[in-house]
């Protein structure tokens, strides 16, 4: 009881502030609505607002709804890694770094941990890159463990809830399972110390070990300026029916085929390599972004992991995403109605993909395009610097705000302990 009372007491002097914040929030909404109305009048015919509760949630402003306290970790956990390898800022896992930077200067940040709803630990577990630029997850469990040990010793808040009101950004392939190979990731499972914390991750697959209940799925990082630089006039006719660029077979890691993408990408190639409607190949064209803007459908099949930056690119460029990944959980699934926007195809139906796509009623296709043209959809998928309203950072905060207030079970009773600090493979227990 004591910890909870303590937490509640801390809020009283801040109630006035909260009320003021609420009023500012109310003020903000009509302004936002007016801005929307102006947008709406101009683009009246070609965009459609995602109606219903989902659309409202996308336009929520989290400022005033939650407070986040950022632990001050030594720079060896974050800044020094970036200085050592600045490539971490541009690969698809860069969300963890930019989230830290956003929170440092955000209005939801509080320097008083007593009034915080959520606690953020800025540890860049994915910033250990090979020469080719791929992240190695082998030291990540030890790094995470070391960070948690640090914060639990220096501040009392971890032990108060065993991490129940803490959140971590883990954007790697299989999130907190910390491995790039699915079988190994499943064998490891989520790091035992993170069992009670909220995980903000890109990986999402239903009924999978590496997706915990209550996690927030986010899109992978895609560089907004680079995509902005390749925009073409919107009246350029969409003359490619289906577009895809990427590997179909991974000869390095999966020479015989059948493992990579669960055979789905190989099936795509074998069935549609001779089909003129399908512009698919392994080339790396300079006009990749421009070509996506000239396509009606963009394929987003799974690779080694079900998620890919293609989804973000397809949404930004107005190309209807065709998601081929069984049981995938897409970013911000509780806020974005993905089945209204994208087309979902089971992996076993890939040979019939052309029949499926050509038999979608034209009105559905036009509606999907209108929904995609809505700027709020595009904003929600991006991590711009500096942060803008309704971008992916704010959607993450919205997701965290929706989980408030914390249930009673988050706060531990005296003597209650949930975490086993010695669980997991022996190699993880070594200090980092």
């Amino acid at each position: 009881m004591a910890p909870m009372a303590g937490a509640k007491d801390g809020r009283h002097p801040v109630t006035a502030l909260l009320v003021a914040a609420c009023f500012s929030h109310l003020l903000f909404l009509p302004l936002a609505a007016a801005a929307d109305a102006v947008e709406g009048r101009d683009a009246q015919r070609n965009t459609e607002r995602i109606s219903g509760s989902a659309g409202d949630v996308l336009e929520d402003n989290p400022v005033g709804k939650l407070k986040v306290f950022i632990y001050d970790l030594p720079s060896k956990y974050n800044k020094r890694l970036v200085t050592k390898d600045p490539r971490c800022l541009s690969h698809m896992f860069a969300a963890e770094i930019f989230m830290h930077r956003f929170l440092l200067s955000s209005a939801v940040r509080t320097v008083n941990p007593e009034e915080a709803d959520w606690f953020y630990t800025p540890v860049y577990t994915t910033c250990d890159l090979t020469r080719a630029g791929l992240p190695l997850p082998f030291k990540s469990p030890r790094m995470m463990r070391s960070a948690i040990q640090f914060i639990s010793k220096k501040w009392p808040f971890w032990n108060r809830t065993d991490g129940g009101d803490h959140f971590f950004v883990v954007p790697h392939d299989f999130a907190a399972c910390f491995h790039y190979q699915e079988e190994n990731a499943i064998a490891r499972g989520i790091l035992p110390l993170l069992r009670r914390a909220t995980l903000v991750q890109t990986f999402g697959q239903k009924n999978h070990v590496c997706l915990k209940e209550g996690s927030i799925t986010i899109p992978p990082f895609a560089p907004p300026q680079k995509m902005q630089a390749h925009l073409i006039p919107p009246d350029t006719a969409r003359s490619i029916f289906v577009y895809f660029r990427g590997l179909f077979y991974d000869n390095g890691n999966d020479p015989e085929g059948g493992y990579y993408a669960r055979g789905a990408r190989a099936s795509l190639w074998e069935n549609f390599k001779n089909n003129a409607l399908f512009d698919i190949s392994t080339e790396h064209p300079a006009t990749y972004y421009e070509d996506m803007q000239r396509s009606v459908f963009c394929l987003c099949p799974l690779g080694w992991a079900p998620w890919s930056p293609r989804l973000v690119e397809a949404v930004v460029f107005g190309c209807i995403p065709v998601i081929i990944a069984d049981d995938i959980v897409l970013p911000f699934a509780d806020a974005i109605p993905w089945d209204e926007i994208g087309v979902f195809v089971d992996e076993e139906d890939v040979p019939k993909l052309d029949s499926i796509l050509t038999s979608i009623p034209i009105d559905d296709i036009l509606r999907k395009q209108r929904l995609l043209a809505n700027p709020s959809m595009k904003k929600a998928m991006l991590f711009p610097q500096p942060a803008q309203p309704r971008d992916a950072f704010h959607q993450i905060l919205n997701g965290l705000a929706r989980k408030l207030p914390h249930p009673e079970s988050v706060y531990l009773q005296p003597g209650e302990k949930h975490l086993n600090w010695t669980a997991g493979p022996v190699g993880d227990l070594k200090p980092w």
């Binding site: 683009a43 015919r45 070609n46 699915e182 079988e183 499943i186 064998a187 499972g189 697959q205 239903k206 009924n207 999978h208 070990v209 919107p234 009246d235 006719a237 969409r238 003359s239 029916f241 077979y249 000869n251 890691n253 999966d254 020479p255 015989e256 085929g257 059948g258 493992y259 669960r262 055979g263 789905a264 190989a266 099936s267 074998e270 069935n271 549609f272 390599k273 001779n274 089909n275 003129a276 409607l277 009606v296 069984d326 049981d327 992996e347 076993e348 890939v350 040979p351 019939k352 052309d354 029949s355 796509l357 050509t358 038999s359 979608i360 034209i362 296709i365 036009l366 395009q369 043209a373």
Partner: protein, 477 residues
């Protein structure tokens, strides 16, 4: 265990197998993997030993026959599923109970006829057409403005060539269009017939003076003809954008798209093609060629996209060698700024128009004293208000060219053969065998008949070479 060994070992194997065989035995891998790896944990040991021995056997076979073939052998011996069908149930290594998505090797599904179905292709194209139509509706031009194309012309050998090309370009313009054709020397039936066949809305305006044979004078006459057309627009209060489409010029479709954006007067870049038909070409050195400016007439913009000046065609290299008379075999150059590079809002020509700016002269005040109207800038008081279009003049939207035959060249009126053709050379091949040189006139006439029937369907020439009979003017339509 077997299960964990198998994937690792396969991953470490180099890609010796060809990818061609990969797909066909993709299905084979399914049952093979399943049988190999399902040994772990749940089956009794005798079965697992059996599968282990079988695996060893496969390894031995693959040593001799190659990895692919051992799998194929195994598959053919034990599997009953269709070669191309999938089997995707594998080692149940996924830790979760409710998921049907399993980790491990899956078959690569290929349908029996992996080629496009024509009905679906048609449907896909219909979808794309509809999508593009919507795109045009959302992002394209909202209210298309009427295009008024002004063309000075006169009857001569190359007129049909030029006008046919122009009318096809105008037919492709996706906006409502009216073609104002001003003909020097009055309206002729030949021109009228050509225009009637175009299917466009044509206003055929007669101009009293004949077209002179000197290029400089022809230039001046054309200017007066264009002014005449502008007066017609003013009288009839025609609304739209005026494009100066000379009959020998070639226009791109983007020109008409850009024309929709005109406020009052705009300038676009014109590529000047000085036609050098003669063998004597001005010899240019490499330096000359590099330093020579581009053969373009158009607006020049400063860094902020504002009109800063004009870029005109450099006539210096051609000095003294240009054509003076129409049809002379020498380059024909533009003089100053050509009308073709300007686009005008027709409301600028009206007597009264809402929002008409003060820097526009009244049309009646122009050319009334017979002075030279060199270019459309003379219609303005202040030339700095001209809008540069076509990405600020960077895009060349049309080409200027003057190609004419000699003034006295003969051509059939209306390009209809009347009177019928003379036989100049008798056809060498006839159905009759080669006869001697001494042929009777009757036989010759007979031959002529056969040739005539073969020569033309509508006009039958009947003039024979024999001197005894003369049949002239025997026309049957």
């Amino acid at each position: 265990m077997m299960k964990s060994l198998l994937p690792q070992s396969q991953l470490r194997r180099s890609a010796a197998a060809s990818s061609a065989a990969r797909s066909s035995v993709g299905g084979a891998e399914g049952p093979a993997a399943a049988s190999d790896s399902s040994a772990g944990g749940t089956k009794p040991t005798s079965s697992s030993t059996f599968w282990f021995l079988l695996h060893a056997l496969c390894c031995l076979i693959s040593l001799f026959l190659g990895f692919r073939f051992s799998r194929l052998l195994f598959f053919l011996l034990f599997s009953s599923s269709a070669l191309y069908a999938a089997s995707n149930t594998n080692n149940p290594s996924s830790a979760s109970s409710a998921s049907h998505v399993v980790v491990g090797r899956h078959g690569i599904r290929i349908r029996p006829w992996p080629h496009p179905d024509p009905v679906e292709v048609m449907r896909a194209h219909r979808i794309m057409d509809r999508v593009q139509e919507e795109q045009r509706r959302w992002y394209g031009v909202r209210e298309p403005r009427h295009v008024l194309a002004v063309t000075p012309t006169y009857s001569r050998a190359f007129q049909a060539l030029h006008l046919t090309g122009l009318l096809h370009s105008l037919r492709n313009v996706p906006y409502p269009l009216t073609w104002l054709v001003v003909e020097a020397g009055g309206v002729t039936n030949a021109t009228a017939a050509l225009l009637a066949r175009s299917g466009l809305t044509v206003v055929h305006v007669p101009f009293p003076d004949r077209m002179p044979l000197d290029w400089a004078e022809r230039h001046a006459t054309e200017n007066r003809m264009r002014l005449h057309a502008l007066r017609v627009i003013r009288e009839r209060k025609m609304d739209g954008v005026v494009v100066f489409a000379d009959d020998s010029n070639v226009h791109s479709m983007e020109l008409f798209d850009e024309a929709q954006k005109v406020q009052w007067m705009a300038a676009v870049s014109v590529g000047i093609l000085a036609h050098t038909g003669a063998a004597e070409q001005p010899r240019l050195t490499e330096d000359d060629r590099k330093s020579m400016p581009l053969p373009v007439q158009g607006p020049a913009c400063n860094a902020s996209g504002q009109l800063a000046g004009w870029h005109t065609f450099n006539t210096l290299p051609f000095s003294g060698k240009t054509a003076a008379v129409v049809g002379e075999a020498a380059p024909v150059l533009p003089r100053g700024l050509e009308w073709a590079g300007f686009i005008i809002n027709s409301r600028m020509l009206w007597k009264e128009a809402e929002g008409k700016p003060e820097w526009v002269k009244d049309l009646d005040a122009v050319g009334e004293n017979g002075e030279e109207i060199e270019n459309p800038l003379t219609l303005l008081n202040d030339a700095s208000f001209v809008e540069p279009l076509g990405n600020c003049g960077k895009k060349i939207l049309l080409w200027w060219l003057r190609v004419e035959a000699r003034a006295d060249s003969k051509f059939p009126a209306g390009w209809v053969i009347e009177p019928p053709l003379e036989v100049v050379i008798p056809a060498k091949r006839t159905p009759w065998p080669e006869t001697t040189t001494e042929v009777s006139s009757e036989q010759l006439e007979g031959k002529q008949e056969q040739e005539d029937r073969r020569l033309s369907r509508t006009n039958r020439s009947a003039r024979s070479r024999s001197t005894t009979t003369k049949r002239k003017g025997d026309v049957q339509n």
